[in-house]
Symmetry: C2
Subunit: 426 residues, 2 copies
């Protein structure tokens, strides 16, 4: 029996690990990258606190000791669900399967404005995080050389759009970076005066959290000097500006953290998608009409008891992966599959040092205890031991010294952010 898993995020990794322990199953795990990435910590790469390899591990080294798991780096480009064949790399590679588990993740959702992507990139990949880091650090370097007050002001303004966990954590991290890390390093500019702006369309940040924790996070953000605008909707984004329904903001750096949709490949492959581009799966995580195809993680739509989709978070994918793996085995053995039930382990977010919020069961936690809860849970989710040790070391060092070590500007791969910089220089 051959189970093909596409995507090595928390979902695909969990499925492969569950199957690696089974006899008589061959597993092929394919990802377009060669590494598993802990996306929830990407914002710390962007804010110069961590380096990419701290939160990424080569997929094949994770299965070094599982001889029946074969790992390939290839990009899914086609699917024939009747013949049970998946095509990769524009058809250069074909893989047949008995069961298929798709865990492709999601992508940044611009809600009908793809043209904004150029000016306000999202934060889903290592490349985007590195570009954002270089872009922000280079802006401070240019401001130090700049004598025009207005241009200097714009270079030192960062606008983050979207008040979910990513937006809150990123704006908090940039606020700390400018206030504590960069503060003493310049002679002409005062980095601590840089504007960090967070725009949220709803009435509060962290809309998925209880209202008291949203208020705690808002208080924490304001104490770090983040300019917080609630109930403001973005109407236009262009070269160096954001226009909301209430104001125009001039900013050298704009980041989009306002939404995630399903994977665009789902519809292209002919899978049944609902609003947001997510695949509407059945209660056992299989795709309607294709009982041997399972779809998990950010790319699927799985309603909770209230009919709302489960959030695009690591714990959901981490539970769906092994569940889909067990159901795939059951299906191939001609047995009944089990419905997926999400065990909510709680949600958490951090704003900065000693500032975090968490919901664990009935308990609402904020402040230092919320931050420690966040730290602990995130350290545990780093998949390999060396990285856990390195991240612990970096976090301890940063805590003691306020020195964030990864402040390198190097020429970014995806030119989005850098192109913007070049245009302004010209």
């Amino acid at each position: 029996m051959h189970v093909l898993i596409v995507g090595a995020g928390f979902g695909g990794l969990g499925a492969a690990r569950a199957l690696a322990r089974q006899a008589r199953v061959e597993v092929t795990l394919v990802d377009k990258k060669n590494h598993h990435l802990f996306q929830a910590l990407l914002y710390q790469v962007a804010a110069a606190g961590l380096t990419p390899s701290d939160i990424a591990s080569p997929v094949r080294s994770l299965f070094r000791k599982s001889p029946q798991v074969r790992v390939l780096m290839a990009e899914l480009t086609g699917l024939d669900p009747v013949a049970k064949v998946a095509r990769f790399d524009q058809g250069q590679l074909e893989v047949t399967y008995d069961a298929l588990i798709l865990s492709l993740g999601g992508e940044t959702n611009y809600f009908g404005h793809p043209e904004w992507a150029r000016h306000a990139p999202g934060l889903k990949s290592i490349e985007q995080a590195l570009n954002l880091r270089s872009h922000v650090l280079e802006a401070f370097e240019r401001a130090e050389k700049c004598t025009l007050a207005e241009q200097r002001r714009r270079l030192m303004t960062v606008v983050v759009i979207g008040g979910g966990p990513t937006g809150v954590e990123l704006s908090g991290a940039f606020a700390e970076l400018r206030r504590h890390v960069l503060r003493w390093d310049f002679r002409s500019i005062h980095p601590e005066e840089a504007r960090i702006v967070l725009i949220e369309g709803g009435a509060r940040v962290l809309g998925a959290f209880p209202a008291d924790l949203s208020q705690a996070a808002e208080r924490d953000l304001r104490s770090l000097g983040v300019e917080l605008y609630l109930n403001q909707r973005v109407q236009d984004i262009g070269e160096g500006y954001v226009q909301t329904d209430q104001q125009r903001l001039e900013a050298h750096t704009i980041v989009w953290a306002a939404g995630v949709s399903g994977h665009p490949l789902a519809a292209q492959l002919g899978l049944p998608v609902v609003a947001g581009g997510r695949v509407a799966v059945q209660a056992d995580l299989s795709v309607p009409g294709f009982p041997e195809i399972f779809c998990i993680g950010d790319m699927c739509f799985f309603p909770d008891a209230q009919g709302k989709p489960l959030p695009g978070m690591a714990p959901v994918a981490m539970q769906q992966g092994p569940h889909a793996a067990r159901n795939a085995l059951a299906r191939l053995a001609g047995q009944a599959t089990a419905d997926f039930v999400y065990q909510d382990p709680g949600i958490m977010a951090t704003v900065g040092r000693s500032k975090g919020v968490a919901v664990l069961g009935q308990r609402h936690i904020s402040g230092t205890l919320g931050w420690l809860t966040w730290l602990w849970h995130h350290l545990l989710r780093i998949v390999d031991f060396q990285n856990r040790a390195l991240v612990s070391l970096r976090w301890s060092w940063a805590y003691l010294t306020w020195k964030w070590g990864v402040r390198l500007i190097h020429q970014g791969p995806d030119p989005t952010h850098n192109r913007q910089g070049q245009a302004e220089l010209a």
Copy 2:
């Protein structure tokens, strides 16, 4: 008094540090990058053992506590030595000086064949190291998917040209990577069978070392399975091949480590250069005709007692930097300058685990002791404490487990290596 220092390698950094302790001197330190880079360890970034931030530190954070040192990120593009004005960023920034210390470093020397750069990049920058790492790792990923024996063989061949320290260390590191690190991670290919080829035009590797240590290094390289070709001269390099005067090698990855010349800007700025593009400085490191301009490190030609130029190594620049700084102060005070005398601290190179060679005074050291000597000296030269701790941790971990943690493929900035890859896939 204003001293302008251009270049934040070991030379410029040493000069700035010497001046930071002086009263009544203002210092401006300019580099086109925002970080100081420990180039001698770049090969470990390319071989997935270290991450760029481990060997790079933001220049301005190194001078956080030196208020009279101003750090700027800008690229030198013009010089008016009569008016004592340096121009940066195509003239967007002008800086006047009383004394100028140039420490721009060198660049890869293709000996009249600039067209080879596209197929066989050098190893002088973070971007080149990251490109090389991604290129080699991606080649193994493609070989794992490939069914054509000949193509697979080419993908798994690395040719390093030049048997100096960089070429020896890089080919040794790749040899270990394929034999110990990647070995257990693939199912179709056998990474330990990958060809690592080192080509040297002279009769022995490490030509600057005593003959017995060259022999030790050659023995160590062969024990790691490196194919070593001495007395072979490269005649042509093209897409996926190297042609020497004795054979043609088909290789997906080709690296040029055969030569370093002075900085091309030296001649453009009108400074007097000798063969190799280096600036012929006087005994006090000043430039003939411009007593207030000093030139140090890889970009200058400074003859030793035998008339041979001092090698392009960190210790030379580390001694010339403070010396030039002192001479600049003397000149501005109307006092006599002192001639530079190089204190040779020894030379060393490593081939792999427990394999190193070193010359310390009259002693020739090889084997484990040579390796430990190398380790110790290189750890000490890492300029900040956090990076020294991180590198120690990574090296210890690698020693204990043979797991090299930085095996990430991400889209490289400079497309040289990647373009080559794309072309072959197409």
